[in-house]
């Protein structure tokens, strides 16, 4: 099986083009550690919490995972591309606020508000990417600044326009029902009630995986995160790739924001702070390196799933809630350590 394939180019066979056994290929996947961790967490809570294995519980866990997972996908791509985004958490709230306030203030169809919100969020994503590539400042600084500005704008504008810190209800407006169907409905599949966000999540994971592994853009993302100078030297559009990645984060923030709005109908302007860390945690558990150039979209999904299982499993297990945060932290640490250990072994075997 390990015989070199006939190389399609005139150069000597490249090690990346060599056939490897299925097992070795599997062991080399970034998300392998996370999968092992997920299985461990799943087995653990199945044992300690009686109600964890019910189908209804599973749908709750999946919902919790999906709300993080939808954002973890583009955040993972961005991390593979060597950057991260601290503004992702409040951007979700911004997306919901813009949508709601535009529809309400203009008495416009809810979809019109959603459209305006999409444009506004893409502009924020573009801003992040553009300033980053222009100034060459670390993404930590740029997106921290955006995070703070968005937090202030969320509060300031909501209060300025509506007079109160939460938006007015748009539940009685035209277009709301269809928007809710798209972003916040439930589906019953085989007797299990599933939230539509789970479908969005799986769809985004599939799309991102396809882009990463099957398209030229995917190669660019890996190249940009691995070594951006080398990538530029071989003609990869480094700036464009990074800007596009930030816009992808903005796009998913828009989807999450619309879910938030259509699901709860009223949005509070102070929400979302701190969630950006959850997205990054999910991506890191899922095998993305903090330094870039390595990771996968499926991994981010597994990471989000681990997070969903751990946070809700504690409730199912009926543990003393005073210790909630401690258990959560310990679970995350263990999962990440296991993940790192498996990855190290896999890489050593290559």
């Amino acid at each position: 099986m390990s015989a070199p394939a006939t190389a399609p180019v005139q150069d000597a066979p490249d090690e990346r083009l060599m056939h490897r056994s299925h097992l070795r290929r599997l062991l080399g996947r970034p998300e392998l550690g996370a999968v092992v961790g997920a299985v461990a967490v799943f087995v653990f809570f199945s044992v300690v919490a009686d109600s964890f294995l019910q189908t209804s519980s599973l749908s709750t866990v999946l919902y919790a995972s999906s709300t993080i997972g939808i954002m973890a996908v583009p955040v993972a791509l961005l991390m593979i591309g060597g950057e991260f985004d601290l503004s992702a958490g409040v951007m979700v709230t911004s997306a919901a606020l813009v949508s709601s306030m535009f529809s309400y203030q203009m008495t416009a169809n809810v979809w019109a508000g959603a459209g305006v919100s999409l444009l506004a969020m893409l502009a924020v994503g573009f801003f992040n990417g553009f300033v980053l590539t222009r100034t060459k400042l670390p993404s930590f600084i740029i997106t921290l600044a955006t995070f703070l500005m968005l937090t202030g704008l969320n509060l300031g504008f909501t209060k300025l326009i509506g007079g109160t810190v939460s938006t007015k209800t748009i539940g009685d407006m035209e277009g709301f029902e269809s928007a809710r169907a798209v972003f916040a409905s439930h589906l019953t599949i085989g007797g299990v009630d599933l939230q539509v966000t789970i479908l969005w999540w799986l769809g985004l994971v599939a799309l991102a995986t396809w882009v990463l592994l099957r398209t030229r853009a995917g190669n660019w993302i890996f190249a940009v995160g691995g070594n951006s100078d080398a990538a530029r030297a071989v003609g990869v559009p480094v700036k464009g790739t990074k800007i596009a990645l930030y816009m992808a984060v903005a796009f998913c923030a828009w989807i999450s924001g619309q879910h938030l709005l259509m699901s709860y109908d009223v949005v509070q302007s102070g929400e979302g702070v701190g969630n950006e860390l959850l997205y990054i945690i999910a991506a890191v558990i899922g095998g993305c390196l903090m330094t870039g150039g390595y990771g996968s979209a499926i991994g981010s999904a597994v990471g989000a799933f681990i997070f969903g299982m751990a946070s809700k499993g504690i409730v199912y297990a009926q543990w003393n809630p005073d210790w909630f945060k401690f258990f959560l932290g310990a679970m995350l640490l263990l999962a990440t350590l296991l993940n790192a250990w498996v990855r190290k072994r896999a890489e050593a075997r290559k």
Partner: protein, 326 residues
């Protein structure tokens, strides 16, 4: 030309919603506009609370305070910070500006003790609102306006007894908030059934929902969910529906959505502490004190709640909740 105009108009109209929105609000708007009713000097009063960013509850407190300020010819300043020491710094800044009266909350009493003493030394009258009724007098404040959290919790427990509930879960959306613990303790005190605490992440609504769902799925005997803030009540209702639970959702505090949900029977009852009154009375009492050295209740705490709001009351309150004063 007119065809173009018609097309443009048509396109604009197509993008509009015929229901709801600002237009509906304006149609129904009966603004509670205020003018100064007195000609006392324009004093400056400052309010410094422990509110987080974007909290609907404190919005209502402020709207009460502003209403009273407009009537009493007062310049009203407001600042807030969740962290005790930063709240104290803001109070200090107000003292430095030589305001004529101070309204503070004592959610973190130890952090506030020194600045309240400083204000008193600087000759600035202080009134405490919302939290800290037990420390108010000791720190040298004129009086306290608010609800006693334990008593409010007990009112909820009694109401649950009346409704024949057996097992309740108390949803805390801010870990480490003394007032929240007191509320749940109060419920525990008077409720004959069992009460469990559930901590959720208040800044993350989907997480609040899935945590409550998980709790209800893990214990089918739970027949009552008590949320500690109005924005979390509709979320708890969704969670109960999603978990297929028959548990009744009840809540502390009121807002427009809660009033609506009470009317439609989705919520059992709400315990209102009338935040509008807390802001309004604080400013008005300070004015009375400056003008006439009056003090209501002889300096003993003035209670603004608890008030149990059920379906019938909700109908009348909904209109006020919508304009942000209840």
């Amino acid at each position: 030309m007119s065809a173009v105009l018609a097309a443009v108009l048509g396109a604009t109209l197509a993008g509009c919603s015929a229901t709801g929105g600002k237009r509906a609000e304006e149609r129904a708007a009966k603004a509670a506009q205020g003018r100064a009713a007195v000609d006392t000097p324009r004093w400056t009063f400052a309010m410094v609370t422990h509110s987080g960013d974007g909290d609907t509850f404190w919005d209502i407190v402020q709207s009460g305070a502003k209403q009273a300020a407009a009537k009493d010819n007062i310049k009203f300043l407001y600042a807030h910070d969740v962290e005790g020491n930063k709240q104290a710094q803001s109070v200090q800044a107000m003292i430095d500006q030589k305001v004529d009266g101070l309204i503070v909350t004592l959610a973190k009493p130890d952090a506030m003790k020194d600045v309240v003493a400083k204000a008193k030394k600087a000759g600035i009258p202080v009134i405490t609102v919302n939290s800290g009724s037990d420390k108010s007098k000791e720190f040298g404040a004129l009086t306290h306006i608010g609800q006693d959290e334990v008593i409010a919790g007990e009112a909820v427990g009694e109401q649950l007894n009346e409704r024949g509930k057996k097992k309740a879960v108390c949803v805390l959306h801010e870990q480490g908030n003394v007032g929240h613990e007191q509320r749940c303790d109060g419920v525990k005190k008077s409720f004959k059934g069992e009460v469990q605490n559930l901590y959720v992440e208040g800044t993350n609504m989907p997480s609040v929902q899935s945590s409550i769902e998980a709790k209800l799925q893990s214990d089918k005997d739970i027949d009552a969910v008590v949320t500690l803030g109005a924005p979390f009540a509709p979320t708890a209702v969704k969670a109960a529906e999603q978990a297929g639970s028959k548990a009744e959702v009840d809540t502390f505090d009121l807002n427009a959505k809660v009033a609506e949900a009470l009317q439609s029977g989705k919520l059992g009852f709400a315990v209102d502490q009338d935040p509008y009154l807390q802001g309004y009375e604080a400013v008005d009492l300070l004015w009375l004190y400056r003008y006439n050295r009056d003090m209501l209740g002889g300096g003993r705490p003035v209670l603004t709640g608890p008030q149990i709001v059920t379906k019938d009351d909700a109908k009348t309150l909904a209109e006020y909740a919508k304009r942000g004063t209840r």
